[in-house]
Symmetry: D2
Subunit: 391 residues, 4 copies
Amino acid sequence: MTDLAAQSRVLSTLRGQRIETASWAYGNSGTRFKVFAQQGVPRDPYEKIADAATVHRFTGVAPTVALHIPWDKVDDYADLARHAADLGIALGTINANVFQDDDYKLGSVTNADPAVRRKAIGHLLECVDIMDATGSRDLKLWFSDGTNYPGQDDVRTRQDRLAEALRETYDRLGPDQRMLLEYKLFEPAFYMTDVPDWGTAYLHCTQLGERAQVVIDTGHHAPGTNIEFIVAMLLRAGRLGGFDFNSRFYADDDLMVGSADPFQLFRIMHEIVLAGGLEASAGIAYMLDQCHNIEPKIPAVIRSVMNVQEATAKALLVDHAALAAAQQAGDVLEANAALMDAYHTDVRPMLRELREDMGLDPDPIAAYRRSGYFEKICEERAQGQAAGWGA
Amino acid sequence: MTDLAAQSRVLSTLRGQRIETASWAYGNSGTRFKVFAQQGVPRDPYEKIADAATVHRFTGVAPTVALHIPWDKVDDYADLARHAADLGIALGTINANVFQDDDYKLGSVTNADPAVRRKAIGHLLECVDIMDATGSRDLKLWFSDGTNYPGQDDVRTRQDRLAEALRETYDRLGPDQRMLLEYKLFEPAFYMTDVPDWGTAYLHCTQLGERAQVVIDTGHHAPGTNIEFIVAMLLRAGRLGGFDFNSRFYADDDLMVGSADPFQLFRIMHEIVLAGGLEASAGIAYMLDQCHNIEPKIPAVIRSVMNVQEATAKALLVDHAALAAAQQAGDVLEANAALMDAYHTDVRPMLRELREDMGLDPDPIAAYRRSGYFEKICEERAQGQAAGWGA
Amino acid sequence: MTDLAAQSRVLSTLRGQRIETASWAYGNSGTRFKVFAQQGVPRDPYEKIADAATVHRFTGVAPTVALHIPWDKVDDYADLARHAADLGIALGTINANVFQDDDYKLGSVTNADPAVRRKAIGHLLECVDIMDATGSRDLKLWFSDGTNYPGQDDVRTRQDRLAEALRETYDRLGPDQRMLLEYKLFEPAFYMTDVPDWGTAYLHCTQLGERAQVVIDTGHHAPGTNIEFIVAMLLRAGRLGGFDFNSRFYADDDLMVGSADPFQLFRIMHEIVLAGGLEASAGIAYMLDQCHNIEPKIPAVIRSVMNVQEATAKALLVDHAALAAAQQAGDVLEANAALMDAYHTDVRPMLRELREDMGLDPDPIAAYRRSGYFEKICEERAQGQAAGWGA
Amino acid sequence: MTDLAAQSRVLSTLRGQRIETASWAYGNSGTRFKVFAQQGVPRDPYEKIADAATVHRFTGVAPTVALHIPWDKVDDYADLARHAADLGIALGTINANVFQDDDYKLGSVTNADPAVRRKAIGHLLECVDIMDATGSRDLKLWFSDGTNYPGQDDVRTRQDRLAEALRETYDRLGPDQRMLLEYKLFEPAFYMTDVPDWGTAYLHCTQLGERAQVVIDTGHHAPGTNIEFIVAMLLRAGRLGGFDFNSRFYADDDLMVGSADPFQLFRIMHEIVLAGGLEASAGIAYMLDQCHNIEPKIPAVIRSVMNVQEATAKALLVDHAALAAAQQAGDVLEANAALMDAYHTDVRPMLRELREDMGLDPDPIAAYRRSGYFEKICEERAQGQAAGWGA
């Protein structure tokens, strides 16, 4: 294949890439110490969708937005979907929330109290109802369930309760709907988390059925965890449902993806590319799950989308034949060099070209800044209650 | 020395031990995901002090309570001090807060904006004014200052600004007042924290003067950090000002001290005992800084006080002569065994005896539960706004 | 049940406990920086077995010794087994070694070179032959396989090779033999390890069959990993084959079990006791895998056996009814207290009593020191080449 | 300044860069599990120097080689220096070794036994004698001293012994000689290391005098440590003596610098550039300290030198004016973007150009491979004992 053909293939793949943004990323967020309010923050799901559509307008590869229930609860989801469509995007993954009701202090689906478990499962089923209304394919489940102190509750009993709740929810899904089960090492549970690692999520998914898939949040691992290894393992097992992209230096920092360790993001995308995971048929959802605590939210999301694009472009440039040959020959330095060669390439010119081909501004951040959108929302949304994690 | 004499010395030391509780531990707290409200939570500084006095009433070793400004701001500190005295305790350390005003989004004393720095320093000076009013010895400074993204601000310039603020504050202290400088690895800053480790705190303290001392929060370290080593280093350098006790499995979990790794707490107290750090002349402040997110607060504080007592009692039981002899002989197993022998001892009978000697119930938690205090506050405080980190 | 009946039950369980020691723990070991030679170190498998028998003589609960092939290769395993029997113990688990031949520089069963894979599988099959000769039940597999640099080899291809090797070895096992698959986060591979976590080991075991079980080495986890959670998960899934006990502050330090975090060891044993894992029918192998780099080896192993006994005794003392009641009631502090009450108990008197009942000296370390065994081996083994990891 | 002028300044700085390689990197190394022998490995210090000279021949920026005593002990250092000069390089830093003698099992300068301390100090003084002979400026001290078990020895007493040894050694230095004190979190000590962090090294250096400086080994930190922060702190305090460059994913993996986290290396070089640390007057030693366990050693060192060059080039490209303006304006995204813009630049063309300007092959690895040097040493060194960490 000529270089030109290769480049054309890369550009074509990048053109087809889809990255879902999260409605809550446009609202206020913070740490337990303080939520710093920002200007122009949306006040309801309709405004969040408008912001998501703005990101898509400037990037061209973010055509869906994930909802969080109940934060994005509305009376008429068909109307919300129409609103999204009018702005050029669609509603995406439905994220359940069983961690913010006072009843869930000691757990939701794993709570010792059957009434609380019932309530939590009820919420999960309601989320599937909403999926039916929005046409969403994926139900994403993250459970904050766990314990803070040794002895607080029984590990195995809680797993039994979890399995029961997952089963009832899974059975409620339609044939084209999927369950994405997320794991997280810690926070808000500080001693034991009920779904802390990929092993636990994988174990439950294999017991549920083929439409139960693991979702990897890149910030949810112990220090030193090789995330791309997990990516490869789940791809090999046919259980990788998607990503919650973000980045971190310490714990679940929820920084912009690619900002803390761009080389790691590249390695993740390299495993994806190797396994054909960018093809739509692979069914992998690429989502952002970030908190823009101190930086303006819309340009931060745009930057994050661009970071994923750049990592993907580099991964697509890896010379697989050279890599495989060096690997087979046991040439450690050459094999590493084949990977690094792609990583060191500056792919920004190629992505600017792609955007121009797509009729977009080659510099999405600058275009957004020039667009006057930020000034407009600051004015329009000056009154009222800004959305945050609670609403 | 006979065993009896030794035991009597241990009991005498334990009787003189002083552990300061924190006003904010009695209010609501949580994670960024949710603050679960509890019953009977104080609504103002007066009620927090009443709860702190209750802890002292049942433990006998917690005669002071730390305040947090502005959370505990009142018009008349003399009146607040009288209120405390009426209940049998005194006001303790003043904790400054320069992390919750919208101006501090990008830092307080290290902010690039001189007006923000001025405001932050103003708050620190105001805290010293309050110390003058309350008669507090210690000003505790924890700065959340830092950056979330590489390049966001300049590391060395921020250190210069920090040094300037510390200098101005230090110079404002009276001759019997001290500055306790706390360090923390991360959170809420997620890339770079301006005072992340003991080295940084130590460096600034040595440049300020003898009354600038380092405070160790046991939850503020990187994984694998040997905390008792830092304790020993600061003791040797004459720069250990005190502790913020709590415990953690992961990050700054703020669990009850001794609940995650009781052996570590024992090792810390062993270094303290070895260096004479329990004597009042050592000037080390023993404080609790915890968040009782899911467990009832007052009994959790009582349990924490007891955990410190138990670790201290075990540390006091170490046979220093046998330990030193084994160390000098290079007998690794015997030296370790000398330490472990004390650790494995069940010191609860001794502490029950001590409490009876002090006219207290031997089981403080049970006594508290029987006292009706919790029922009383639940009723009295049913209305109004519970205190939390914001107030 | 009366307290006396309970205590009798506890003692009876402790009397039946079995802890396997490792032949290589008696030989010299060290770090990459230096192997410090010790006196009296065995020179061959026969002498290692003599040391293991000595540990059993003084503890009464260590009746088997694990072998490492080829370090413990002999011409006549029946003779070796007779030697062990003469000394009162038996041969235990067979540990394969595919990490010390120059051919394995880039991996053994996952090597890109099929000839190297063939050789490695050949060794695994040879280990089963040895098991047939020794009558061992368990084949323990730890693979150092992995890569040091991104790109060095392909993650999924290596998993395919691994699966193939495991399949061939598993199929060679007799109906009463088991495969124990160990995982390890890192070292000696420094970028990607082929079996780095319990999820990977579990996935392979489920694909092999029921006699493939996961073994947990307590030092092989990322910082912050909740090991007792993994214990509970594997118990619930019927896939916990055994433990390699040791302890660590940092990485795979291989210190004496219980010396770094005795509370963690207790929590692990608590999960075991809750699930009935101490019963012989549970089929869980309790093994020590430690390196006594600087402390004398035999007393260090004795101390380690005692540490496991103490943690087990405490776990057996947990009041399960009180614990479950507090858990069901959502009483966080009481549930935690129920666990801590057992942990804080000094079980050493009970274990001394047990030993006297078993006709042993209540203080095994002191008895060993008095026995003259150490002086004897120092003299007998003064000449010749001490055994180490290489032999 | 025009872009051309800027580029010329960058090239001029890169041309003046100096990176010291380590004699022991050319010898065999490994983990505690296995040292895999390689072909063509030097058998004595003269051959190590020949390899170092080869690296310089192809890179042009590695004109000195560090020695390790006693591994590189020779009878006539003047002759060794002449040999180096003949090959176009010079002898550099002298590295002391007080961790491989049997006497040092429980410590060297911190050992409880005064005779062992005396011996260790004697070695340090001997190293200064060697510096006098070689004309080396820097004495690099890394102490493996520490303990494996709590209680094994006394933390503060060991610090006293350390201070004494450092004092005696420092006082022996000539006016143009420096002491570089290295810290390391753990390994081979597994509970407490006597110089575990920068705070400890800094404290001792300030007590010694101005020519005592801290050296940062990039692999010697706890997980999550912000290394560039430490770089900035030591630069600000005038105490950064140099680097031991390498990289790691887990512990002290000693991989090729820049191979695990190239973005981190860039951030480190950015702090260096900001503070003028590349200028010779800054006196910062840039050294490689790596173990090429599985990859061929000479090309691995060449690659490492190139990685440092690339990170430096990117750091030199940062637009400091734009960065400072965004920082001052509190524009988080723009400030971060200013840094990332330089990082994302592909600097390899610029470095190829530089090499051509310097009369070198633009692709040092390819040139080395073509040179026949490897074939030559494989043949010449086929007999005899390859050098390793022990010799």
